[in-house]
Amino acid sequence: MTKKILEERITSNQKIAEGIFRMTIYSPEIAQNCTPGQFVNLYPRGRHTLLPRPISLCKIEDEHITLVYGVVGQGTQEFSEYTQGQELRVSTPQGNGFDIGPSLSEKMSKFTVKREGEVPTLGRSELEAGRQMTLVGGGLGVPSLVALAKALITQGHHIRVICGFRTEPYLIEEFEALGISLYVTTDSGDYGFKGTVMDYICAHPFASDYYYACGPKPMLRELAAYCREKQVPVQVSMEERMGCGYGACLGCVCNTQRGYKKVCSEGPVFLGEEVDWYA
């Protein structure tokens, strides 16, 4: 597929929590050609904010996509001021997204032997339907799990979602609507379990065949270590400061067992085992 920068129409853009916005964009071209875990680049109009802002796909519908973003700086501030009906510059989907298909187990076995003398930890049957999948999200990593949860359900898996926030949770109703097991934690204890998602996981042991995660790097690192110990695979969606957001500038690399890889075009999803967490 060729890639493009599109001018698409915003169908809604609303505040859903303090400093958190949900934007829905009419774009059959994106909606029909993307997978969970992929992201789009949003291009601010401001002349001084030059670079694109990568935002993950939160919901994928027939003709619409939904993005959920936090206002952290000038770019996201500008997006939060956009109104319904306005057009915005947005790229076609970027990155590889979460691997949810049967092809996954094959890729896993390839990745798990990279360290010399290491025994592969995964068989080929990992992703047969009916598996227990755990999705772990932290803060602005939670949005991309919405689309993922929906896709995994349609594949016949059992889904447990654990998401952590600072004080105020969001997107809870989206997960509840999917009828899955949902566990919420807040750092402040204002809502749900008091503590981080990792605190929760360690305090409430459960069995899971597979993990997916998106959130701050320390959380992903801890989860990857946990999964390694439990010998369970985990896919993590990594974040890095980007330049181009499409693979041309080498700005956004992630250190992996096989050297630096571009988060924007070779990620953002990597296997926990693949990432060199201590580089």
């Binding site: 920068i5 030059l50 694109p52 890095e240 330049g243 181009c244 500038c249 080498l250 690399v253 075009s265």
Partner: protein, 308 residues
């Protein structure tokens, strides 16, 4: 309209190599594979590759990118797979294109540069761009580009070993860029390209840390354009060899400005990060500019400059 377009001659000649048009891709901001998803690479006058060194370089740790007012800082640190990998995996791809190929060469020591140009001896490429101006590596690189004596020396030695014409890429981080340009011309450089990035820094006052892992980085984008235009203008009046002008070119009119200042061709860098199809858009805008003022060739634009 159509007749006019037909009359326009966008061709430019650099060191005996004729490009179909003056638009090239700035080193480090272009990937044949990834940029090729957005536009037809054959529309370019030439592709300029990411810097290639004698061995694989890891590059710097992240964050490597920071945005600044009207520009950006990068400290990628010349991550590249090395010349052997480049020749095996990337070059064949570029050679299928119907455009000129300029390989950007990076080094920390003189020997690094020699290895690369010698390995490219038998390869079908058109020009070499020698980066003696990267601010993001600790030794070498920029060191060769900040002293006229060292710039002259490295030019002379590379010229002996290279089969293709060499274009020396100059740094703006010097007191007088014309001294460096004159020094490399005297030792046989076939052209110069300027400017590389300006050394800069950004501190995030919320985290109270440098925005880049490397602390300092190279500033590029529209913020540096006036500096680049001034330097192209000065160098044009100091040397006779061709100039590839770059630094903050965002539009066709910016390209025309560089040509008036004295550039024979231009490179598009940062603009392609925020608009992947920028090189082609800029080419179209340059044509529109030429139509508007009835310029029929790139030379006519250059000669059209009224330097009172």
């Amino acid at each position: 309209m159509l007749e006019l377009r037909d009359k326009q001659d966008l061709r430019v000649t650099i060191a005996g190599i004729t490009f179909s048009n003056p638009i090239t891709t700035a080193s480090g901001t272009f990937s044949a594979k990834e940029s090729g998803y957005f536009y037809d690479l054959n529309e370019l006058g030439a592709v300029i590759t990411k810097g290639v060194s004698s061995h694989a370089w890891e590059g710097n740790k992240t964050p490597r990118i920071a945005e600044t007012y009207g520009g950006m800082l990068n400290a990628v640190g010349l991550q590249n797979p090395g010349i052997d990998d480049f020749i095996a995996n990337e070059l064949p791809w570029l050679q299928k294109l119907d455009t000129k190929i300029i390989v950007n060469v990076a080094g920390k020591t003189p020997e690094d540069y020699y290895t690369v140009v010698e390995k490219l001896w038998h390869e079908k490429i058109d020009l070499l761009e020698i980066n003696i101006s990267c601010p993001n590596i600790k030794c070498g690189g920029i060191g060769f580009g900040t002293s006229p004596k060292m710039a002259a020396e490295i030019t002379k030695e590379i010229k002996k070993r290279a089969r293709q014409p060499i274009i020396m890429k100059l740094t703006p981080n010097v007191t007088d860029i014309t001294e460096i340009a004159k020094a490399v011309e005297a030792e046989g450089a076939d052209g110069v390209s300027l400017i590389n990035t300006l050394l800069g820094m950004k501190i995030d006052v919320h985290t109270r840390k440098p925005a880049l892992f490397n602390k300092t980085g190279g500033l590029s984008g529209p913020a540096i354009k006036p500096v680049a235009v001034r330097m192209v203008y000065q160098v044009r009046r100091s040397v006779g060899i061709p100039i590839i002008g770059l630094g903050g070119i965002m539009t066709g009119e910016d390209a025309a400005e560089f040509i008036m200042a004295g550039a024979d061709a231009v490179s598009i860098g940062t603009a392609a990060l925020l608009d992947p199809g920028a090189p082609i858009r800029i080419k179209k805008e340059l044509i529109a500019y030429m139509e508007r003022y009835h310029f029929n060739s790139i030379k006519e634009i250059r000669d059209g400059f009224i330097d009172l």
